[in-house]
C-alpha cells in the first residue's frame, strides 16, 4: 500500500518547498518474536511485571540510559524504527552504540521497522507535534506487540520517563514503566541502579552558584545567522582550566577568548558552542599564569592580570550563550574522598584536566575509593556547580601499572582489547609457508645480500636493505618491505580492525599492535630465519647517490642477518669483516651520507626531541634506568633509505592514481609561529633566518659553531624549540588537496610506505602501488576519493592520539622511576613565563615547571618581587636574573600528594633565590 | 432567442464499455510476440522476422488481432493511419498548390497528390491542359478546400494519387466533416449515400466523413465542377446534418463500425432526443445500445 509523506522544508535561501515522498506500507515485516530460545537466553525478571515480557524503550530512554541498556543482563528488547531514527538524528555517538548492540546477536535486541508496517502505521493528525506523533507511533507499536504476545502469555512493556506518554499509555491499557522503577525492581542485578543517569531535577541545588540560562536552539540559530553569535568548538587551555578559546567557523576568523566560570556557562571541552562577543572594554588577555588545579582549585583571574590588561589591548573575548552540540564521552578518573564513604553523592575528578569535576551517585563508594573508575556525564543543570553523571565501570587500583596503562589508553581512545574472533579467523594458520603459486608469481631475490637493522628487542621487522655493485660501475640498491597486504585482504574483519586502530602504539612497557602478533612478529616480519614475502623497491644508482632508474616488484627474499644498530655499526667499523653483507652495509653507509648532505642542502630540517628509553626490570616491569637515545651512523643510514623509498613510491602512485593517492604532507608554518624561537635565539646573540626551511636549517647549523657566551647545548635547545613551532604532518588524498609539499623534509611529494606492519597508511599505499604495477587487482573503495580522505582523517587522529599516549606513558614511567628518589641534576631554561620557568633536563629528557611564586614547600609567596620581561625572555625573581637558555640545577622529586596527577616536582637549587629555592 | 444552459461536469471515472457480451475468440498479440514458427506462412502487415535468425520465427510488430487468410498472416492494428488502396473513396483537404498538382492531406502516412490531369476542368473532359490552366489552378482549388476523390494509384512508398474524374467527386461545401479512425469505416461497394432523412453522407475510407444536405438535382454538389452552391441552408436541414454528426461521433466513441445502415439506425434511435442531448454520455450510450441491438436483430434476421 502506498501512502504519501508531505513535508514542508525551508531551504537555506529561505524558500519554502513542499516535498512529497512515497511511503510504502508492508505486511511482511519480521517482528522478531520467532526463534527465541528461552533456555539459552532467559528473560529478565522484574518484580513490577508478573509475566515474561519484552521491553520497548522510547527515544529519551535510549539517549540517556545507554549504559543501562548495554549491560549484559538487558535482553529481549525491541527497538522501534522510530526510536532509531530519532536517536540517529539527535546523537551520533549514542546511535553508533545502539547499532553495535543491535548487531550483537547475544543481546537479543530486535529492530522493528514499525513505520513501514501496515499493522503499526498511524497517520499524522493535523496540528499534531512531531513529538506527540512519535510517541503515538511507539504506543501503537507496543499495542501491536501486546497483541502478538498475548497468545504466549507474554507482555510488551513500554519504558519511558515522559509522564504524558506514560499516562496516555496506561489509558490505552498498556504497561508503561519509568526507567527508575524498572531498574529498581530488576531481580538479581542491583549494580544497574548505579548506571542510571539522573534526570535533571533530581540533584540538589547549589545555593552558591547560578549559571545564566542557555538559549534555545532556534534562538541560537537565528543569532548565528544574523551574525550576533559565533559558532565554534571550545578548546579549554591546558594551563588554565577555567579559560578556553573558541575558533569560529568561517575563513579569517580570529579566536575568541572565554574566561571564567560564568562566561564558560557550563560548556565542556570540545563542545560546539554559540558565543556572544563582549563589548571591547571587557576584552581580556589569556592569563600568563599557569593555573594548577591541585594548588588553587577554582581560582579566578588574578589582580596582576587585571593590571596587565591596562597595559596591552585585550583580544576578542566573549561568553557562551548556548550549547549547540555536546561532545560528552566517558571519562576516567577517581573519586574524591570528601565526606564519609556512606554518603551516596560523590565528586569525581577526571584524569583529563580540562574536564570539570562530576557529581555522581553511587552506593559502592567504599569499594571505589582508591580505584580508577569510568564515569559519563548526564547533564549540567543551571543551579549546580558541577555536572551530574553516573558510574560506568571500575578499572582497577590507582597506581597499579596495568590500571594506569588502561586509563592512558582509554583517555586517548586507543583500542586495546584483544582481537575479536572474527579478526583472528582471517589469519592463516601458524604453520603457513609460502605457496608455490606465490613463488612463481614473484621475483626471486633470495640470493641477494639482504639484511635488516633495527632497535634491540624489535620483533616486527618491516624493512630490509641490500646493496650490490654491478660490473658497469653502477650500484643496485634495494629496500624490501614486508608484504603485509598479501595477508590483509581488503574488506575483511582484519582489515577493518586495522583501519580503525590506524597505527601500532608503543608504550614504554607494552605494545598495542595494529595487527595480530602472528602477522606482525611472525609471518610478515622479515626475520632472518627463512624465506619471506616482500614488496621491493630497487634503484640503480651511481656512486654519487643519483638515481638512474627505479623499479618496484613483489618478491621473495631471504634475510641474511637481523642486526641491531650497534651490531651493524660494529660490522662496518671492523675492517676484518668483508662478506657481501658487510660490503653492502659500507656502501649503503657511504651513499646515506651523500643523500643526507643533499637533503640538508635542499632544506631538510633535522630537529631533535629529548628521547629517552627506559630499561625495564624484567620481573617487576618497573623502570630501573633511563637511557637517552644515541644516534649512530647506522640509524641515519636506515632512515635515509626509508625516506628515499617513501619519495620514490609517492611519485609512482601519484603518477598512476593522481586522483586518489594516499600521501603525506607537512604544511609550512606561518612566520608568526617562529616568533618565540627567534626572540629566544636573539637573546643569545644568534640570528635565525626563517624565510625558508633551507635558511632555517642552515642557521640552526650555524648556531652549532662554538661561540662566546653560547653554551654548546644551546644549539640542541634551539632545535627542540624549533620542533614546537611546526605543524603536524598529515595524511591526505591527492585528489582533494593541491599542496603536496613536506616542509620538514623539503620534499615536493612524500608518503609512508616502509612500515606496513605498524601503520595503516602504508597498507593503503602498498595496495595502490601493487595495483599500479599490475601485481594486484583494484577494488572500488581503493579509488574512492571521499572514502580515502575519511580514512586519512581517522589515521591522523589515531596518530596524534598515539603520540599523546606515548608521551603520557613516558611521563608515567618517569614518575615511577623517581618514586622515593630525590636527585639533583643539570638543566636548561627553555621557556620563561610570568610566574614560572620551564626547565629541560637533558639527562632524563624531562621537562618541568619551576614555579617562582611559591616556596619549595608549595606555599604561595606572591608575585610582587617578580619582574617579567617578555621580549627579552627573562624574569627577575628576588633580584636574581633568569634568562632563557640559562643553565640551572634543579632538584627532582616525586610528589604523590595528588593521587591522580602524581607529578615530578622541580625545585631550583642553583641559582639560589631567597624564599623560593630549597635550602 | 432560446436561452442556453451550460453544464459542467466534474471528471468521472471512465467506464469500460463492454457492450459486446460475447467474447471473441481472437488471437491478440503485442509487439514482439511470436505468432508462429512455421516457415510456410507469408508475412503480411504488422509482422516481421529477424533476418539473422535460423528458426524463421514470425514476430508481431504491432498490437492487434491476428488475421489468417490462407497462407497469409497479418496483424491488424487497432489504430493506424489510413493505408490507401486503389478505388477507395477519400475526402481530403488541399494543403499546397504546386506546379502541376495539388497536395492533399488525407490522414495517411504521406500527403496524397492530385494531378491537374486528374481533375475535370470546366470546358469538357478531354480538354488539353494549357499553360494558362496551370497558372489558374488556384481558382479551381486553393489551400483549405475540402474535396472528395478516388484513389487512382498507390506508389511504392505509400503515397496516393487521387482523381476526381467523375461527377460524383469534387469540391465539397454546405456541410460538415467528422474525423474518425480509418479502421472504423467498413469497406463497402458504395461509400456515398443519400440518406432518407434528407442528408447525404460520404463515408470516406480514410476516416473523414462528410455530411451535407441532399441538393435538388440527382448528382451531388461536387458536380465534377468547382462551383459550390452558396445559398443559405434552412434550419431544419441544418439540424438534420447536426444530428447525423452527433450520432456518428457517438458511434465512433464506442468503436462501432460505421456504414450506412448503422448510421441510419443511430439516427432513428436519436430522434427522440434533442440534438444537443445526444452528446451527453447517458444518451449516447442509449443510442449506441439501441443501434447495436437493431443491427443484431438484422443480422439474426438475415442469417
Amino acid at each position: 500500500m502506498l501512502k504519501s509523506k508531505v513535508l514542508m522544508v525551508k531551504t537555506r535561501s529561505g524558500k519554502i518547498l513542499k516535498i512529497v515522498r512515497e511511503h510504502y506500507l508492508r505486511d511482511d515485516i519480521d517482528n522478531g518474536l520467532n526463534g527465541v530460545d528461552l533456555d539459552d537466553h532467559p528473560m529478565l525478571e522484574n518484580d513490577l511485571i508478573s509475566s515474561e515480557h519484552y521491553i520497548i524503550p522510547d527515544t529519551n530512554v535510549v539517549l540517556k540510559q545507554m549504559d543501562v541498556l548495554e549491560h549484559s543482563c538487558m535482553r529481549n528488547v525491541i527497538i522501534l524504527q522510530t526510536v532509531m531514527r530519532e536517536t540517529k538524528h539527535r546523537s551520533a555517538p549514542i546511535y553508533k552504540r545502539l547499532r553495535t548492540i543491535t548487531q550483537n546477536k547475544d543481546k537479543k535486541f530486535h529492530v522493528f521497522t514499525n513505520e513501514h508496517s501496515i499493522d503499526t502505521w498511524c497517520e499524522r493528525r493535523p496540528k499534531e507535534s512531531s513529538n506527540d506523533y512519535n510517541d503515538r507511533f511507539i504506543r501503537v507499536a507496543t499495542q501491536f506487540y501486546n497483541e502478538c504476545l498475548s497468545e504466549r502469555n507474554q507482555k510488551a512493556v513500554l519504558l519511558t520517563n515522559d509522564k504524558a506518554n506514560c499516562d496516555l499509555a496506561k489509558k490505552e491499557g498498556l504497561l508503561a514503566v519509568t526507567v527508575e522503577d524498572y531498574v529498581r525492581n530488576i531481580v538479581g542485578f542491583p549494580e544497574l541502579l548505579d548506571k542510571l543517569a539522573k534526570a535533571d531535577e533530581a540533584m540538589e541545588v547549589d545555593k552558591s552558584i547560578s549559571y545564566p540560562e542557555h538559549l534555545k536552539l532556534s534562538q541560537l540559530q537565528t543569532g548565528i545567522k544574523s551574525g550576533r553569535f559565533k559558532q565554534g568548538k571550545l578548546n579549554i587551555s591546558r594551563q588554565n582550566y577555567l579559560e578556553g578559546k573558541v575558533l569560529p567557523q568561517g575563513e579569517g576568523s580570529k579566536e575568541i577568548l572565554i574566561q571564567g566560570r560564568m562566561h564558560l556557562n557550563r560548556a565542556v571541552n570540545e563542545d560546539i558552542v554559540a558565543v556572544e562577543m563582549l563589548p571591547e572594554n571587557q576584552w581580556s588577555l589569556p592569563s600568563d599564569v599557569i593555573l594548577d588545579v591541585s594548588v588553587q582549585p577554582g581560582a579566578e583571574i588574578s589582580e596582576s592580570h587585571a593590571e596587565d590588561l591596562k597595559k596591552k589591548h585585550g583580544i576578542p573575548t566573549g561568553k557562551v550563550v548556548g550549547i549547540i552540540k555536546r561532545s560528552w564521552r566517558s571519562y576516567c578518573g577517581i573519586l574524591e574522598s570528601f565526606g564519609s564513604p556512606d554518603m551516596t553523592r560523590h565528586l569525581f575528578t577526571p584524569a583529563e584536566r580540562r574536564i570539570p569535576r562530576i557529581r555522581i551517585e553511587t552506593r559502592q563508594a567504599k569499594l571505589l575509593i582508591g580505584q580508577r573508575i569510568v564515569v559519563a556525564i548526564d547533564s549540567w543543570p543551571r543551579f549546580s556547580k558541577y555536572p551530574q553523571g553516573h558510574f560506568v565501570k571500575a578499572l582497577g587500583e590507582i597506581g597499579d601499572k596495568d590500571t594506569e596503562n588502561k586509563v592512558l589508553l582509554l583517555e586517548h581512545d586507543v583500542a586495546h582489547e584483544p582481537f575479536s574472533q572474527a579478526v583472528l579467523n582471517c589469519l592463516p594458520s601458524a604453520n603457513w609457508s609460502i605457496p608455490d603459486e606465490e613463488l612463481r608469481k614473484r621475483e626471486d631475490l633470495r640470493g641477494l645480500p639482504i639484511c635488516s637493522v633495527d632497535p634491540p628487542g624489535c620483533t616486527d621487522i618491516d624493512d630490509c636493505l641490500h646493496l650490490r655493485e654491478w660490473t658497469d660501475g653502477n650500484l643496485e640498491v634495494g629496500v624490501h618491505i614486508a608484504d603485509v597486504t598479501h595477508f590483509i585482504r581488503p574488506g575483511t574483519a582484519l582489515d577493518i580492525e586495522a583501519r580503525s586502530r590506524g597505527t601500532t602504539v608503543y608504550l614504554c612497557d607494552k605494545r598495542i599492535d595494529m595487527v595480530p602478533e602472528l602477522l606482525s612478529s611472525n609471518l610478515c616480519s622479515l626475520r632472518d630465519d627463512g624465506d619471506r614475502l616482500a614488496f621491493s623497491c630497487i634503484w640503480v644508482m651511481n656512486h654519487n647517490a643519483e638515481i638512474i632508474s627505479t623499479r618496484f616488484c613483489k618478491s621473495v627474499i631471504r634475510s641474511k642477518a637481523s642486526m641491531t644498530y650497534a651490531q651493524a655499526q660494529m660490522l662496518i667499523d671492523d675492517a676484518t669483516q668483508n662478506d657481501d653483507v658487510t660490503i653492502g652495509l659500507r656502501g649503503l653507509n657511504k651513499l646515506a651520507k651523500i643523500l643526507k648532505a643533499r637533503r640538508t642542502l635542499n632544506g631538510a630540517l633535522s630537529l631533535s626531541s629529548p628521547e629517552v628509553r627506559f630499561h625495564v626490570d624484567s620481573e617487576t616491569h618497573d623502570p630501573i634506568d633511563l637511557e637517552t637515545k644515541k644516534l649512530r651512523d647506522t640509524n641515519s643510514m636506515v632512515e635515509e633509505f626509508m625516506l628515499l623509498a617513501n619519495c620514490s613510491v609517492a611519485e609512482k602512485i601519484q603518477k598512476e592514481f593522481s586522483d586518489c593517492a594516499v600521501l603525506r604532507r607537512h604544511p609550512e608554518p606561518p612566520k608568526s609561529n617562529f616568533d618565540v624561537l627567534v626572540n629566544a635565539a636573539r637573546t643569545r646573540g644568534l640570528e635565525l633566518s626563517i624565510n625558508t626551511s633551507r635558511e632555517l636549517a642552515l642557521s640552526l647549523d650555524e648556531a652549532e659553531k662554538p661561540a662566546e657566551n653560547v653554551h654548546p647545548y644551546i644549539s640542541v635547545l634551539l632545535r627542540i624549540l624549533a620542533t614546537r613551532c611546526m605543524y603536524q604532518a598529515v595524511y591526505f588524498c591527492s585528489g582533494l588537496e593541491s599542496d603536496f609539499r613536506h616542509y620538514g623534509l623539503a620534499a615536493p611529494i612524500y608518503t609512508h610506505f616502509t612500515s606496513p606492519i605498524r601503520r595503516y597508511s602504508d597498507i593503503m599505499v602498498h595496495r595502490l602501488l601493487a595495483a599500479s604495477i599490475g601485481a594486484d587487482s583494484t577494488f572500488s573503495d581503493l579509488l574512492n576519493k571521499q572514502e580515502i580522505q575519511q580514512i586519512c582523517n581517522n589515521l591522523n587522529f589515531r596518530h596524534r592520539m598515539a603520540q599523546y599516549a606515548q608521551r603520557a606513558s613516558v611521563a608515567l614511567h618517569t614518575q615511577m622511576f623517581f618514586r622515593g628518589k630525590m636527585v639533583d641534576e643539570q638543566g636548561f631554561i627553555i621557556v620563561v613565563r610570568k610566574n614560572a620557568v620551564q626547565v629541560l633536563i637533558p639527562k632524563y629528557g624531562l621537562e618541568g615547571t619551576v614555579f617562582l611564586d611559591r616556596d619549595h614547600q608549595g606555599n604561595a609567596v606572591g608575585t610582587s618581587n617578580l619582574e617579567y620581561n617578555e621580549d627579552a625572555c627573562e624574569i627577575v625573581a628576588n633580584g636574581v636574573l633568569l634568562k632563557v637558555f640559562d643553565e640551572v640545577t634543579v632538584q627532582i622529586s616525586h610528589d604523590a600528594s595528588n593521587i591522580q596527577h602524581q607529578r615530578i616536582n622541580l625545585h631550583l637549587m642553583k641559582p639560589k633565590i631567597e624564599g623560593i629555592s630549597a635550602p | 432567442m432560446s436561452s442556453s444552459t451550460i453544464v459542467i461536469k466534474a471528471p468521472s471515472k471512465r467506464r469500460n464499455n463492454p457492450i459486446y457480451a460475447h467474447a471473441s475468440e481472437v488471437f491478440l498479440v503485442t509487439p514482439g510476440d511470436v505468432i508462429t514458427e512455421d516457415a510456410d506462412y507469408m508475412r503480411g502487415h504488422g509482422t516481421y522476422t529477424n533476418a539473422g535468425d535460423e528458426d524463421n520465427k514470425l514476430y508481431a510488430s504491432v498490437a492487434g488481432v491476428v488475421e489468417r487468410i490462407n497462407k497469409l498472416v497479418c496483424v491488424k492494428a487497432l489504430k493506424t493511419r489510413y493505408n490507401g488502396e486503389v478505388g477507395d473513396v477519400v475526402v481530403g483537404r488541399i494543403k499546397e498548390v504546386q506546379q502541376k498538382r495539388w497536395k492533399v492531406e488525407t490522414n495517411s502516412r504521406l500527403d496524397s497528390t492530385l494531378q491537374i490531369s486528374s481533375v475535370n476542368l470546366p470546358g469538357g473532359e478531354l480538354r488539353r491542359r494549357s499553360a494558362a490552366d496551370e497558372l489558374t489552378m488556384r481558382e479551381y482549388l486553393k489551400e483549405g478546400d475540402l474535396i472528395s476523390a478516388e484513389v487512382q494509384q498507390v506508389h511504392n512508398d505509400g503515397m496516393l494519387s487521387l482523381h476526381t474524374r467523375s461527377l460524383r467527386y469534387g469540391k465539397l461545401g454546405q456541410g460538415c466533416c467528422v474525423v474518425v479512425s480509418p479502421s472504423l469505416i467498413k469497406r463497402r461497394k458504395n461509400h456515398i449515400h443519400n440518406l432518407p432523412c434528407g442528408a447525404t453522407t460520404i463515408l470516406a475510407n480514410n476516416g473523414y466523413i462528410w455530411i451535407s444536405i441532399t441538393s435538388g438535382d440527382a448528382c451531388n454538389e461536387g458536380d465534377g465542377g468547382f462551383n459550390v452552391n452558396k445559398e443559405p441552408v434552412p434550419l431544419e436541414e441544418r439540424e438534420v446534418v447536426c444530428r447525423l454528426k452527433n450520432c456518428i461521433q457517438c458511434l465512433a466513441k464506442s468503436s462501432v463500425m460505421l456504414y450506412d445502415t448503422s448510421v441510419l439506425y443511430a439516427y432513428e434511435s436519436s430522434l427522440q432526443y434533442q440534438v444537443k442531448e445526444i452528446m451527453s454520455e447517458k444518451v449516447s450510450l442509449e443510442i449506441v445500445n439501441q443501434t447495436i441491438s437493431l443491427l443484431e436483430r438484422e443480422k439474426t434476421g438475415d442469417g
Binding site: L2, S4, V9, T11, K15, L17, K18, V20, R21, E22, H23, Y24, L25, R26, D30, R99, T102, V111, T113, E115, H116, T778, F779, S780, L783, Q786 | N16, P18, I19, Y20, A23, S24, V26, L28, T30, P31, G32, D33, Y48, S61, V62, A63, G64, V65, A77, L78, K79, T80, R81, E105, R109, L110, D111, D157, G158, K186, S254, S255, V256, M257
Partner: protein, 247 residues
C-alpha cells in the same frame, strides 16, 4: 556515506521498499483522442504523458532530414515548471531537455521499423508532470505504450529501468532522494522478449567489479516493468477489440 541511510540494516529503503522492488506503476493507453497514439505512465511519483503523431508528412523544418528509405523520428521532451519541488521555469530547448530528447530518439530509432515508413516523420512528445527520479525510464516506458497505441510497427517493447549501488547492494528503480544521494546510477532500456539492451547510461562512477551486478539487476527490473506494461496493453486491446463489431 551520506547522513541519509539509503538502505537500513533491516534491508529497507527510505520509502520502505526492498532493494529489488519497483515503485507502484500505473499506466494507461489512449489518453488523448486527437493524437495518433498517447499514454500516461506513473512510476511512483514520476508522472509522464506521451503523445505520438505519425507517421505523417514531414513538417517544413524537418524537410532537410528526409530520408528516402526510413522515417525520421522527432522527439521533444519537456518538464513542467511544477514538476519538481521548487518551481522552475524551463525554457524550451534548454540543454537538459535536448539531451534527454536526443537519448530517447536514439533509443527508439533502433526499435521502430523505420524502413516501413520511408519519407515520413514520427513525432514523440513527452511531458513530465511530476518528477521524482528515473525520468528517462518513465519517458521511455510511456513512449513505448504510446507507440503501441498508435499502431506503429516495433520490433519489441522497450522497457527502461534504473539502478544504483549503495553499501554493496543494488537498489532498483531510483527515486529522487536516492538520486541526489550521490551514488552512481545506471539506467538502461531493454527489449525484453528479444533480450537486447538498446540503451544504457551511467551517471557517476562504478568500479569494474560492480558494474556486472548492477547491470543484471537493471535488466531484471526491466523485465518486471515489462510484465506490467504487457498486462496493460493486453487489457486495452481486449477491451477495444471486444467493442468492434464485426460483421
Amino acid at each position: 556515506m551520506a547522513g541519509l541511510e539509503l538502505i537500513s540494516d533491516q534491508g529497507y529503503r527510505i520509502d520502505g521498499r526492498k532493494p529489488t522492488e519497483l515503485r507502484q506503476i500505473r499506466c494507461r493507453l489512449g489518453v488523448f483522442t486527437q493524437a495518433d497514439g498517447s499514454s500516461y505512465v506513473e512510476q511512483g511519483n514520476t508522472k509522464v504523458l506521451a503523445s505520438i503523431y505519425g507517421p505523417h508528412e514531414p513538417s517544413s523544418n524537418m524537410r532537410s532530414k528526409i530520408s528516402h528509405d526510413k522515417c525520421i523520428i522527432n522527439c521533444e521532451y519537456s518538464q513542467a515548471s511544477f514538476s519538481s519541488a521548487e518551481r522552475k521555469h524551463r525554457p524550451r530547448g534548454d540543454r537538459k531537455s535536448l539531451d534527454m530528447a536526443a537519448h530517447i530518439k536514439q533509443t527508439f530509432e533502433s526499435c521502430i521499423h523505420t524502413t516501413l515508413y520511408p519519407r515520413s516523420q514520427i513525432d514523440i512528445f513527452l511531458q513530465i508532470l511530476q518528477s521524482d527520479g528515473s525520468n528517462y525510464c518513465a519517458c521511455v516506458n510511456a513512449a513505448t505504450l504510446a507507440i503501441v497505441d498508435a499502431g506503429i510497427a516495433m520490433k519489441d517493447y522497450v522497457c527502461a529501468c534504473s539502478a544504483s549501488l549503495a553499501k554493496g547492494t543494488t537498489l532498483v528503480d531510483i527515486n529522487h532522494v536516492e538520486e541526489s544521494a550521490g551514488c552512481a546510477e545506471l539506467s538502461a532500456a531493454v527489449m525484453p522478449k528479444l533480450n537486447k539492451i538498446v540503451y544504457s547510461e551511467l551517471n557517476g562512477r562504478l568500479h569494474e567489479d560492480e558494474i556486472g551486478k548492477v547491470l543484471d539487476s537493471v535488466v531484471l527490473g526491466c523485465n518486471d516493468m515489462f510484465a506490467v506494461m504487457e498486462r496493460t496493453v493486453r487489457e486495452h486491446v481486449e477491451e477495444t477489440v471486444s467493442n468492434f463489431t464485426h460483421s
